[in-house]
Structure formats: structure tokens, C-alpha cells
């Protein structure tokens, strides 16, 4: 308590609760996703991205089953 780290985590937590209210406002039916406090709530969004989101993407080929509806010739 009263440390700089505590203040930072407290701020992250407060920001998280604001995010939850916004995210949950779209949840209109029972099966909809719910957002709230979990083990990541005292991370800033930047920290979360840096620590837990580590994938980069290669462009993949479109699956050949696609029917475009166009015909040639």
C-alpha cells in the first residue's frame, strides 16, 4: 500500500472496470460474452499486449473452395 506500484495497479484496475461496463453493454442475450475482473485486471492494456499476445501472422492463401459466383469465357 502507498507504493508507486500500488497506485499504478489501482489505476489499471479502475480503468479495467470502466472497460467492462462498455464491453458488457453489447451483451444483449444470455449466451453473450461477459467481461469483468480476472487475473489480467491490474495490467494496463499495453502490458497485457506485450506479455501475453505474441503472435504475428503470415498471409494465408484463400481456401480453394470459395465460390465467387463469377464465370469466365
Amino acid at each position: 500500500a502507498n507504493s508507486e506500484e500500488f497506485d499504478l495497479r489501482h489505476l489499471c484496475f479502475q480503468n479495467a472496470t470502466k472497460r467492462h461496463a462498455y464491453l458488457n453493454s453489447f451483451s444483449t442475450v444470455a449466451q453473450s460474452a461477459k467481461y469483468g475482473i480476472n487475473q489480467f485486471s491490474d495490467f494496463s492494456q499495453e502490458e497485457f499486449r506485450d506479455l501475453y499476445l505474441g503472435a504475428s501472422a503470415d498471409r494465408a492463401l484463400l481456401f480453394p473452395g470459395l465460390k465467387t459466383g463469377k464465370t469466365e469465357g
Binding site: 460474452a33 489480467f40 501475453y52 505474441g54 503472435a55 481456401f63
Partner: protein
């Protein structure tokens, strides 16, 4: 296609793992797919070494991130056999690649496919049923706050930043959804799983989807 399908029902999906504070999701998704396909092919389900892929897949950047497709390219080209997790345990840190004799390894990747299924999620369902769990990439920024339920909003396609393992789907309810294994432990989401609406490429789940062949 069946209205619902879940590879966990066939006991070929290993328990949810925890990558901890290491950007190794790309390795978890690839190893998850490999170990499931190995079990589907008739072998016992063995948890394989994620740390081996983190340390040795040199085109990727270990805990600083990587691409499932790059990891699969490396596994195919090097013909390196993955060893059991018990022999090369996960440390949540990038380390020096440990080499084992080929006789020590369990399985090597013969080939893989990587497709963009956007607009064709029904074909992706067929791919899952035919080939086993699929390694996919997603936009998971909003997953920081996820508790459970079916994700329909708050994430985009073409902005992927996380890798996961798609293990099943369910189209019997009002909202059809993918069943996706994450690697943030069992206390996150639905006991470590996340459900994503099928049909509009929510979170970019269909953007880059890989199947492995052993």
C-alpha cells in the same frame, strides 16, 4: 457436417496450459495441434514440448512472439521430432535449443496447410472434422477482460496478435460458435476455453488456419 463437434469428446485434446508472461502462444497452438493429430492417428495422447519449439524455431522470437505458420515451416523442413513435455519442460523464458537424438523424439511434422477461411467458415468446420484441431490466429486484445460466453463483438479481423487452438464447434443454439482452447490457464474464460461466434470471422478466427499432417 454434424451440428456440433468437439475433439475433446474423443480424448485427443491435452489439458489447457498456461504460457505465463511469455509471448509463446504461437508455440502452444502448434504443439497443441501436433499432439492432438498424433492421438487421432491412434497413438496415446502425449503432451509434447512447447519449450523445444520456443527455443529451437529460430525464425520466431521465442517469448517475444512468433508465427504458427513459421513454426510449422521449421518443423516440416527440419524434420525435428518433438520430445515429451516431461523431458523438455516449459520455462516461460526463451532458452538455448536442446538437441535430442531422433530416436528420443515422439513425432515429426510431415506437412501442413494454412488457409484463409474468411467467408467460408463452414468449410473450416469440415477441415476441423477431417484433419483435427486447427492452429489459428486471432485479435485477442479484448480477451484481457473476458470471463465467458460467446464473443460476438469487440475484436477485429486482419489484426491478429494471438494464436490459439480450435478444437470444436457447436451450431445447435441461437448463436453458433467455435470452441477454442487458449493457453492462459484454466482460471481464464470457460475453464481456459473461449467461444467465438461462427459466421462473420469474429476476431479473425478464420484469417489464417493451419492443419498438420504427421
Amino acid at each position: 457436417l454434424p451440428a456440433k463437434f468437439d475433439w475433446r469428446d474423443k480424448a485427443v485434446v491435452a489439458p489447457v496450459q498456461n504460457q505465463q508472461a511469455c509471448g509463446s502462444c504461437w508455440a502452444f497452438s502448434v504443439v497443441g495441434a501436433v499432439q492432438s493429430v498424433h492421438a487421432i492417428d491412434g497413438s496415446q495422447l502425449v503432451e509434447l514440448s512447447v519449450q523445444q519449439v520456443v527455443d529451437c524455431s529460430f525464425q520466431n522470437e521465442g517469448c517475444n512472439g512468433g508465427s504458427p505458420v513459421q513454426a510449422l515451416k521449421w518443423l516440416k523442413q527440419s524434420k525435428m521430432k518433438l520430445v515429451p513435455q516431461s523431458e523438455y519442460p516449459y520455462k516461460a523464458k526463451t532458452g538455448i535449443c536442446h538437441f535430442f537424438s531422433q530416436s528420443h523424439g515422439v513425432v515429426a511434422v510431415k506437412n501442413f496447410t494454412a488457409y484463409d477461411f474468411s467467408g467460408q467458415e463452414e468449410a473450416m468446420m469440415g477441415h476441423l472434422v477431417e484433419h483435427g484441431p486447427l492452429a489459428a490466429i486471432v485479435d485477442a486484445v479484448s480477451w484481457q477482460d473476458y470471463l465467458g460466453g460467446i464473443i460476438q463483438h469487440h475484436c477485429s479481423s486482419q489484426r491478429s496478435n494471438h494464436a490459439v487452438l480450435v478444437v470444436g464447434y457447436n451450431t445447435t443454439g441461437d448463436i453458433p460458435y467455435w470452441i477454442v482452447q487458449n493457453s492462459w490457464g484454466t482460471t481464464w474464460g470457460n475453464e481456459g476455453y473461449v467461444y467465438i461466434k461462427i459466421g462473420s470471422n469474429v476476431c479473425g478466427i478464420a484469417d489464417s488456419v493451419a492443419a498438420v499432417f504427421l
